[in-house]
Symmetry: C2
Subunit: 175 residues, 2 copies
């Protein structure tokens, strides 16, 4: 869907609220009316855009749930999440922090359930405060680091490698 791709690019740059349907239409070279023919509302575009991005996460999450939960499967999950975050570098902070998307993730039930699955996969049976904080920190560290000005000069491969090393270290998963 060209519309969703355009929306994602514009959301990442300007945020959801500052992205108008006119901007999306211009981006792909059609009129607003053409966009409205495929999506009844702007909100529907936002939902579709979030779905597209979460779908990528879902694949690695399925795999993680299928495997038995041990150090190596957790490390695999972490590595794949990092791969995705680095690939989607420009999108990440929008998906994690844009107020419109945050509200959507909290209200839309399918999204809520998905986030629960993700957290459960990373936490396992450890639901104590420290474990939850560790996961919250790791998730934020990955999401924030990939767009941080301090490491804007690092190429994707370098960033990926170092992030995997430092996160497995922090979670105590080193071999």
């Amino acid at each position: 869907m060209r519309i969703v791709a355009a929306a994602l690019a514009l959301f990442a740059e300007h945020g959801v609220s500052a992205t108008s349907l006119q901007m999306i239409a211009d981006y792909i070279g059609v009129t607003k009316a053409a966009v409205y023919h495929q999506f009844k509302t702007k909100e529907a575009i936002v939902v579709a855009a979030v779905e597209v991005e979460l779908a990528k996460l879902e694949e690695v999450l399925d795999a993680a749930e299928a495997a038995e939960r041990d150090k190596s499967s957790l490390e695999t999950l972490l590595t794949q999440v990092i791969d995705l975050a680095v690939e989607q570098r420009r999108m990440v902070s929008t998906l994690l922090y844009d107020p419109v998307i945050v509200r959507l993730l909290g209200e839309h039930e399918p999204f809520q359930q998905f986030m629960d699955r993700l957290y459960r996969a990373m936490l396992g049976k450890n639901r104590d405060a420290e474990s939850r904080l560790r996961v919250a920190m790791i998730a934020s560290a990955i999401g924030g680091a990939v767009t941080h000005p301090l490491v804007a000069d690092l190429d994707a491969t370098m960033l990926r490698t170092e992030l995997v090393r430092l996160t497995t270290d922090f979670l105590g998963l080193e071999d």
Copy 2:
């Protein structure tokens, strides 16, 4: 300034772009025109709001620069940054990730210089990729964790204590 306080509260909830001057005026019970009498543009309000928040960071940064740079002064800085982040829990992700504010931090010279000072205080002479990534991760982990749904139930004291422990651990500053 009541306007700035209102703006900050609304920015934190809706983001800068989704916050109109009408909303700010309503919040403090005056008209838009009254707001425009004190701030020529919406941008000026955003600048003032960011200045107010950065001013809090500036105090602890001044202290860090005055002290000689060693483990204990770095730990002090980290602890105070965490204190501020926990106190300003609702504001943090807006200040770090709102597209309008990000653009402002990058374009406004005083803000740029301030961020440089902050990074320098945390990095010291270590400008290698791993050190920069560690700082980027720590900054993101702190900023993200304080608003993360996984730890929304933790009270401020608990969150503060655990964050200090885990971040000093990650930076290798434990005694």
